[in-house]
Structure formats: C-alpha cells, structure tokens
C-alpha cells in the first residue's frame, strides 16, 4: 500500500452501503413503496444516474458481471462512463450481453431479452413520485400513498384522453404494484411495462437527487393503470428493425440525412447485434455493409 488515498471497493464506504442495503431490503419487503435514504454525493452530476449508481455500488460483489445501458444502448456516454467507473473502483467484469450480466444498471429501458432468476435490474430514476405533477406537496402525496388515495392518478389519464382522444402518456406510465402502491416505473417507455409484470429478476429503483429507493421483487404483480373503455396499450411499430428485422421490439428513429431519410432500429443494441450474429437481416443491413 502506498500513502495515496484509496477507494473502498465500489467507491462507497461500508457504512453507506449498509445503510443503502437496509433501504433496499425495506423496499423489497414493501413492493412499490418509496423508502427514503441518505443519498450521497457521487462523482457525477445529478441526473446522470447517481441513485442507480449508489444502488449498484451497494449490491455489487467482486464476482458480479455488470452491464450498463442508456436508452437501450451499451455504447452511449452515460453507459460507457458508468461502466468505466465500476471497472475502475470495483474492478468487476463488465459485459454488454444481457444473458451474461448478473447486474444490469439501466436508464430508460428494460432489455428485450427476458431476464431470468438471479439477475438484478437497477433503474436510474429522476422523479420517483408518480403523483408529483398533480400534487406538489410531499406531505400530501405521502398521505395519499398511505391511504391508497389514487383517484388523482386517473385524473391525469382522463386529461390525456380529453386532450388527445387516447392515453397519450408514453413513458413513466404509472403502474400499481401487488395491488397496493402506485409506482413510477422511471422514464421507461410504456412498451416495457408488461415486462415488469411477474418478472423473474429483481428490480431496484434508485433516485439520487430525490433520495428514494423502491423495488419490485421477482414474481410481483405490476399492472398499468387504465380505464375500462380505454385499456392500456403498448406502442406498436409499422416496420421491423431496419438492421436485424426484429418485430415486437422497441425501435429508435435515426435520421440519416437532411432530405428526410430515416431508419428505425432496435433501441436495445445488444439484442440487435445478437440477432444479426444469428443471421437475421433487416432491409437496410445490406446497404450498411455495402457502404462500409
């Protein structure tokens, strides 16, 4: 050992991890309930996933394999820097493959590949309170959760239909967990909501700035709120992925030129690469290879 200051394994000191683990255990015991915790300053700005990073740091062990995604992609700034961070401070193995990962930290997506028992999905959450934009008082929202007064959540959906003719909320779509707490699934597209229902993997949510942790344990009921005459629907896409030809996946729009050219590709890059490696091809794949 030299005299230079060193980091504890996974950056956070053991007392902090203990505190966060206690919050996580409580969150798992009460699915969907937001547990306050003493969020620490992290070496990255709020909004970059400080909540998710603290949860990951607290549950990470030396043998874990970490995957980090940002909007489904493994190669965007947020994903790359958080992955590099844990490589440096915890020296853990990292991967981009969903199957191989034991812990997946995510921002705004759930991987297309079905998660399995033993895997943990850690969400980065900006605003954990689903009632926030309807009721600004924290004292009141806590009371509403405690007394299960969720009529206001439907007021939001009512407004959507009144203005747009259909439920226009496409992300952060409110869900009811295990028939009790209404929860914000973080800004994932509502396309991913059905994947949360009865998931085999443990799902943990960390909001660093708002200092809240909540969780959905494996095999838990997660139901998206809706009206009887306007049932919950997920987004559907006209065309399959332009690169791998996948249908029933969430697609990103990519602008190709300034003449209106565009393509729709899988937002989950690992899923797309996997399919291409298996020989699936979309209509623009040949195109791309020719250009290369």
């Amino acid at each position: 050992m030299n005299d230079l200051a060193t980091y504890n394994f996974a950056y956070l000191d053991e007392q902090t991890k203990r505190m966060i683990r206690r919050a996580i255990l409580k969150a798992i015991a009460i699915p969907g309930y937001q547990v306050p915790f003493a969020s620490r300053e992290m070496p990255m700005p709020y909004g970059w996933g400080t909540g998710g990073v603290q949860v990951t740091a607290s549950i990470l062990g030396p043998k874990d394999v970490l995957k980090v995604i940002d909007q489904g992609a493994d190669d965007t700034t947020n994903a790359v820097s958080i992955r590099a961070f844990f490589q440096k401070v915890a020296n853990v193995a990292v991967t981009t493959r969903t199957k191989e990962a034991t812990i997946i930290q995510t921002r705004h997506r759930i991987p297309e590949e079905k998660l399995t028992e033993g895997q943990i999905l850690v969400y980065q959450v900006p605003i954990p309170e689903p009632l926030r934009f309807l009721e600004p008082r924290e004292t009141e929202t806590r009371k509403m959760h405690a007394l299960e007064e969720y009529g206001l959540m439907h007021v939001k959906l009512y407004e959507d239909i009144a203005r747009n003719g259909h439920i226009a909320t496409t992300y952060a779509y409110p869900v009811k967990v295990e028939g009790r707490y209404v929860m914000d699934p973080s800004p994932t597209p509502k396309f991913d909501n059905p994947k949360m229902h009865m998931s085999e993997a443990l799902q943990l949510f960390g909001a660093g700035r708002e200092k809240r942790i909540y969780a959905v344990p494996p095999y838990t009921d997660v139901v998206s709120l809706d009206f009887d005459d306007h049932p919950f629907e997920i987004q559907s896409f006209d065309k399959p992925c332009a690169l791998c030809g996948a249908e029933d996946v969430y697609l990103d729009e990519v602008i190709l030129d300034d003449k209106g050219g565009r393509m729709f590709v899988c937002s989950d890059t690992d899923h797309c690469e996997d399919r291409r490696a298996c020989g699936h091809a979309g209509h623009m794949l040949a195109h791309q290879e020719a250009a290369e």
Partner: protein, 258 residues
C-alpha cells in the same frame, strides 16, 4: 324523510392558546336543512365551520355525524382514512376562493370527475357524461368541458367548484362565504342556482356568510355569532324580522336599503 338529525354538535369550543376561536356551540342539523352562520369578521364563524368539517380539531366538545349505515360517529374519533373518505363522498366543501377547492391546471371535466375516480369509477365515457351533465346543471357550457378553470371567470369557477362537490351526491355541504368576491348580479345567479340544487337534491348545508341577504335567500335557520359564541338562533325570517339581541338588531339595521 328521516327525523334523526344528520349532525349533532354538542358544546364545541376551540381555543387558539388563550384566545377564543368559538365556545360552547351546540346545535343539531336535520337532513335537507340549510343553516346559516352569520356574524362579523373575527366572530368565530370560520373556526366553527372548520371544527365541524374536521379541518380543525375542536379543543372540547363532540361533533357526531349520522353515517349512511344509521350509526352516529364521533368525527374526532374517526381514523384519518375514514374521515377523508367521508369528506370526498358524503360531504362537500365549497371554499370562498375557488382556487383552493379546484385543481386549476386540469380541465373542468377532470375537476368534476376527480371524486368519481377517487371512489373507483374507471369508465372514461361514464365519467365524462356525468361531468358534462353536471356542468349543464351549474350553467357552464358543455363546450367548456376541456378548458382549465384558469380560463373561467370568478362566477364560473365558483359554479364549477359546486359541481365538483355535488357530483358524488353528498348529504351535507359546507360553504364558506360562497358568494364572497363576486359582483351582485353573479351573486344573484349563484344563489339562485344553489337554492335550486339544495332543494332538488335535498341537501343539508351549513353556510358561513357575513351577508344577511345570502342567509335570507338560502337558509331555513340561522345562528348569529359574536366573540366566538352563538348569541341568537332561530328561523331565518324570525331572526331577521324580529331580532331580539341588541347585536343582532345592530347587524340587521346596518344593511343598506337601496
């Protein structure tokens, strides 16, 4: 009609430290009856209303409510969940300032529909139909259903607030200066509307007002308060035409005759 009182108020007092909010108030309110509480500013009208509607806990005394199951319940001993449920189903509360009673950033339809959704209505079409029906009853054009109350005039806001409160067919409505801040012609329309609704729905209402004309038009019975105590009560016409207490006589004689 049931002959049992809807609300039994027994010796209610509220002290703010050593100051008196209201003291030793007792009365009974029967279904379908409209009671006006009048008095000058600072006489304890609003404190009393807050104690009755569980917005404040009385320092002493008991307020009992005749629940739909026929039982009398002491409001102060009810759990918070039950009390809040009562407030949004069986009761209504009309604030003087509509901005306190409305959600200003959601549409008129959602404002009316909120209570329905809170009690578990999950059919958009039905909620909207009920909302537009109620807007019509309070004389707001159905084409305004998707406008926010921010775009409404003071009188419309107050009418919307009334619709929002009455949509769950409450049995008891509290009104705190419902016509305060409205000009006289709008006041007249509002009073007309409230009188019609109270009559049609058989509502019991407790109306706090400093305006004796409001009491005369709406209420069957009235209580006059001064310095926190009820100094005179009786049938509205009797109190206004034949006031017995010197203070009531002063109050009645200070109305401007045009």
């Amino acid at each position: 009609m049931s002959t049992l009182p809807l609300l039994k108020v027994n010796d209610v007092s509220k002290f703010y430290g050593s100051r008196i909010g209201c003291r030793n108030v007792s009365f009974e309110l029967y279904p379908g009856e409209v009671l006006a509480i009048v008095g000058e500013s600072g006489s304890g009208k609003t404190t009393l209303l807050s104690c009755l509607s569980t917005r404040l806990m009385p320092t002493s005394g008991i307020v009992e409510y005749h629940m739909r199951d026929g039982q009398y319940r002491d409001l102060a001993r009810m759990g918070e969940a039950e009390r809040r449920f009562l407030m949004r189903t069986d009761w209504g509360f009309v604030h003087q300032n509509p901005a306190e009673g409305l959600r200003m950033t959601v549409s008129a339809g959602a404002n009316v529909g909120e209570r329905l959704m809170a009690v578990g209505d999950r059919h958009y079409g039905n909620i909207r139909a009920t909302a537009s029906d109620w807007l019509e009853r309070v004389e707001i054009g159905v084409d305004r259903i998707d406008d926010q109350p921010r775009a409404f005039s003071g009188g419309m806001r107050q009418r919307l607030q009334i619709a929002r409160n009455l949509v769950t067919s409450p049995r008891l409505v509290f009104m705190d200066e419902p016509t305060g801040g409205l000009d006289v012609s709008v006041q007249a329309r509002l009073l007309d509307l409230v009188r019609g609704l109270v009559h049609d729905l058989g509502l019991a209402a407790i109306i706090v007002t400093h305006d004796l004309a409001v009491a005369r038009l709406l209420s069957h019975r009235m209580m006059v308060m001064k310095d926190g105590a009820v100094i005179e009560q009786g049938l509205t016409d009797r109190v206004l035409d034949d006031p017995r207490e010197p203070y009531t006589q002063l109050l009645v004689s200070s109305i401007l005759q045009v």
